[in-house]
């Protein structure tokens, strides 16, 4: 315990957390820049750092980026990140109504509580989950990964599209050395393809580069900003009492949804908002400046960060798209993700958990201090932003392994990402399929090799069987329901 605290409260670590949180807030506040983009583009800059330091920095960025969006959502009615779309519904009307300070104060306070609640869960649950996962055999782990993929398909707007997108992600994870046998496949004769497509250029292409092209489509947006004033920014004791139930409920929803694989802050915020509206005494106020709406949305989106770290740290399964990048970052920095991480490297795990908590605390302070000028950031013209981001996309993809091939991959995936957005093909299942397939194949391969190619253990081992049944039910249930309705 002591060395972890010593590490966390050393000036260098605190500086990293503050820097990460601050950058996250800035990027979160600027519409068009997302946390996924910031983290994917910063990762190459951390290569020279100590593994834990790098992860602490990236996690602080994650926390900041989920929080920063509420400023622009409230003052400009532009969600800085998708996670704060629900905040615009009530934050902006409230700000227009003359209470911008109060709206921001509620949002910031709720964000802090959400982060805290989810951290408590992370601290309580991650250890036990890891020690259970430690005993899972290859078949069990394969079934677990399959369940995660079924789940992410389930929450997409159209399940068939979700499944298709996940399968396409798997297909793009195939080229290169097979994780089960090391055999080289699907390289079409290109030696450069022997290592397949790496996560970082794929992510930079799909998210960062895609966003820039979208930024360039259409006209530059002009927005009516609300003048900022700080009145009512601090929440009073009465506020806490009045909103206590809503805060706790929204935080729990956020944590739970964050912990489910593949879905993160966006869905968490929507779900908590919907529940808050349903159980409110004044549902008609929602969308017109309801305090409860702001609180539900912001508590849930911050809570999802801690929730999503639970499966990542305990089992090496990413809980959201950003966690998928963090997973790649852990591998790059020599922290092998998986249930063993908790046993082998408990200091690292708890330093990361602690960093998340500290980042949340710093987030509150940084947001309160810099609210005024952060809202001006959204007005940086795109002719400065777009070329700068593009240059980072190129150098970031290159820096991963010092080769231009990754840059071409990034460009290609930028195009694929645009096409996917265009035909409303969900991106998240694609990424999750892409990230999880190697884990699935390695485990299934190990299982098949030790059992002479028999698939039976998938159904005879209790844990594997339970998870396979659950994933089948998840896929079949909506289909059956639809048939019944006809």
């Amino acid at each position: 315990m002591m060395p972890i605290l010593e590490y966390l409260f050393s000036p260098w670590t605190l500086l990293l957390i503050a820097l990460g949180t601050w950058l996250g807030i800035v990027v979160g506040a600027i519409p068009g820049l997302t946390g996924a983009m910031l983290i994917a583009l910063s990762l190459p800059l951390t290569f020279a750092m100590e593994g834990t330091d790098a992860m602490v920095l990236l996690i602080a960025m994650y926390v900041g980026s989920v929080s920063g969006g509420l400023i622009t959502a409230t003052l400009l009615r532009m969600p800085g990140t998708p996670a704060s779309i629900m905040t615009t519904l009530d934050g902006y009307p409230m700000a227009v109504g003359g209470k911008p300070g109060r709206a921001l104060g509620l949002g910031i306070g709720a964000s802090g509580v959400g982060g805290l609640v989810s951290w408590i869960f992370l601290a309580l649950v991650a250890g036990p989950i890891a020690s259970v996962a430690h005993h899972l055999g290859p078949y069990d782990f394969f079934a677990l990964v399959m369940m995660a993929m079924a789940l992410i398909a389930l929450v997409s707007d159209s399940m068939i599209m979700g499944l298709l997108s996940g399968a396409c992600g798997i297909l793009f994870a195939m080229p290169g050395a097979s994780p089960a046998t090391g055999d080289i496949r699907l390289t079409f004769g290109f030696m450069e393809m022997n290592d397949g497509f790496k996560l970082l250029p794929v992510m930079i292409g799909l998210y960062a580069m895609g966003e820039v092209v979208i930024m360039l489509q259409g006209k530059e947006k002009k927005t009516a900003a609300v003048a900022m004033n700080r009145r009512g920014m601090m929440m009073s004791l009465a506020d806490w009492r009045r909103h206590g139930v809503n805060l706790l409920r929204s935080s729990l929803i956020g944590t739970w949804i964050g912990a489910l694989p593949g879905i993160g802050a966006n869905v968490g915020s929507v779900a908590a908002y919907t529940v808050a509206k349903k159980s409110s005494r004044t549902p008609e106020q929602f969308g017109k400046g309801s305090e409860e709406g702001i609180i539900a949305s912001e508590a849930a989106n911050n809570a999802s960060v801690g929730g999503a770290l639970i499966p990542l740290l305990a089992m090496g399964i990413p809980g959201s798209v950003i966690d998928a990048i963090l997973l790649g970052a852990m591998v790059i920095h020599g922290l092998q993700p998986g249930p063993l991480l908790m046993v082998q490297n408990p200091e690292a795990v708890w330093s990361l958990g602690g960093a998340m908590l500290l980042a949340n605390v710093m987030m509150i302070g940084l947001m309160v201090m810099s609210v005024g000028w952060l809202s001006n950031l959204a007005k940086i013209p795109r002719h400065y932003m777009a070329p700068a981001i593009m240059v980072f996309c190129v150098i970031g993809s290159y820096g991963l392994a010092n080769r231009m091939f990754d840059v071409w991959v990034m460009l290609a995936f930028g195009l694929i990402g645009l096409a996917m957005r265009r035909i409303k093909f969900p991106l998240a299942p694609f990424i999750i399929g892409f990230v999880l397939w190697p884990v699935a194949e390695e485990n299934l391969g190990a299982g098949l090799m030790s059992n002479d190619g028999s698939l039976w253990p998938l159904f005879t081992r209790p844990i594997a069987c339970t998870m396979i049944v659950i994933s089948m039910l998840m896929v079949l249930f909506p289909v059956l329901k639809k048939l019944k309705n006809k």
Binding site: A48, M161, N194, G334, P339, H383, P387, V407, G453
Partner: protein, 437 residues
């Protein structure tokens, strides 16, 4: 924009230009930094060893120029080794790769082996240990091999298929006729330990350091694959003592592209040998249970030949139990597309405009995308140096988006210079990334 800021930008430009101009033809090797390609990710065993040795070379000032580690990971080291194979044989590119270079060739993962390089030196031997779970019935190597011969494929062996750990198992198998292990894929040492501890496999091979790290977690050593007992675990007999002629160890080899002048190879080997003799390097190796061996010249060639003979004796068995995953996934995708399309046609909505679906770009974004493509092309062809092409790219693209408005051009100009040269400086000097162009 004040004048001090502009002066700053210009100063940085000058510094970078002077750094670039150092790339001149040399008469006295080394006259510029030497790139050492480590074909694995930063932070692993190979990377740590290479960086430590290079630090010693620099501390003792054994070479006039710094050595720079560049991690080019992937495909079991063959991505990085290929880069060195194709590099100019001028002594400024070097590879550090263990016996994986041999196993990759014999497993069919790379079309070339040690012959495609000049071997400069071999450093630091890491001995291997065969281990089972601590409550296993197997107590010695004889018993293990007898069981394996009596019931082939009854014992499962965790190995990284096609990599040195797999070949170690195959060599052991070969030592007793009739014996056959069931090889199961588990990547690194940690995974192999987890597989044994969880009871999913019976035995595996570990480096001495890995074994010491996981011993408490439930491992028991059966034999050491070395010519002598290991000082860290003197109670464990060698395979030879148990009448099996198997040695398996790992060694870091240093390679230069084929055709590198002999004098350069000799100077490099001298530097490596001296650095290996330094006190702090010795301490580093003692801490990681690495034998402080240095091989060069004939000794090195003998070692490599011996390893090649051992590896070439065994042959990989085809793994037939795995389904053809790409085909399965392709099939699933085809079925899903069929379902999606049939659903699409059944409730077709008239408001979906077919031509708009494919209009991913508008004119501005298409121009910018193509310009980025051109930028990457120029970089990969190395037609212009990185800072120059980047500055031009930023300025032109920014101006294009701002529709060549005069007011935006001056700040854009400054920004392009600042970013291009700033990034160049940070990446080459601080992060030591070898930028293209």
């Amino acid at each position: 924009m004040n004048s001090r800021f502009i002066a700053c930008v210009l100063g940085m430009m000058l510094a970078c230009l002077s750094a670039c101009s150092e790339k001149r033809v040399d008469t006295q090797w080394p006259s510029r930094p030497i790139k050492v390609i480590v074909p694995f990710a930063a932070g692993g065993g190979s990377d740590t060893f290479a960086r430590q040795l290079i630090r010693e070379i620099e501390n003792e000032a054994l070479l006039d120029q710094p050595l720079v580690v560049i991690n080019v990971g992937g495909a079991g080291g063959s991505i990085g080794s290929r880069r060195v194979k194709n590099a100019r044989p001028d002594g400024y590119t070097m590879l550090m790769l263990h016996e994986g270079i041999l196993t990759a060739q014999y497993a069919g993962r790379a079309p070339y082996g040690p012959d495609a390089f000049e071997a400069v030196a071999g450093t630091g031997r890491i001995d291997m240990v065969l281990a089972v779970k601590d409550d296993s019935r197997i107590t010695d190597l004889k018993q293990l091999m007898d069981q394996s011969a009596a019931e082939p494929r009854s014992l499962s062996f965790a190995a990284n298929i096609g990599a040195p750990s797999h070949f170690g198992g195959l060599m052991l198998e070969k030592a007793q006729p009739g014996s056959m292990f069931k090889f199961v894929q588990f990547g690194g040492g940690a995974d192999r330990f987890a597989a044994i501890a969880g009871g999913h496999v019976d035995l595996s091979i570990f480096s001495v350091e890995e074994f010491l790290r996981y011993r408490e977690g439930g491992l028991r050593a059966v034999a050491v694959f070395a010519s002598q007992r290991h000082p860290a675990i003197p109670q464990i007999p060698t395979a030879k003592e148990q009448a099996y002629e198997v040695t398996s160890s790992s060694m870091h080899f240093w390679w230069m592209p084929k055709g590198t002048p002999d004098e350069i190879q000799k100077l490099m080997a001298d530097a490596i040998e001296k650095a290996m003799g330094s006190e702090s390097m010795k301490k580093f190796m003692a801490d990681s249970w690495t034998e402080p061996v240095v091989l060069r010249g004939e000794n090195l060639q003998r070692e490599l030949d011996e390893r090649e003979v051992n590896i070439s004796k065994v042959s990989l068995r085809q793994i037939e139990v795995l389904p053809n995953f790409p085909m399965w996934i392709g099939g699933i995708i085809a079925i899903l597309i069929a379902i999606a399309l049939s659903g699409h046609f059944k409730n077709r909505q008239p408001d979906v405009e077919a031509e708009k679906v494919f209009a991913v770009f508008n004119r501005l974004s298409l121009t910018c995308y193509l310009m980025t493509g051109l930028y990457v092309l120029v970089l990969s062809m190395a037609w212009l140096s990185y800072p120059l092409v980047t500055a031009i790219y930023i300025f032109v693209m920014g101006s294009l988006i701002a529709s060549w408005r005069r007011s935006a051009m001056v700040p854009l100009f400054l920004m392009s210079l600042l970013m291009a040269f700033g990034l160049f400086y940070i990446f080459t000097n601080v992060l030591v990334v070898d930028l293209p162009g």
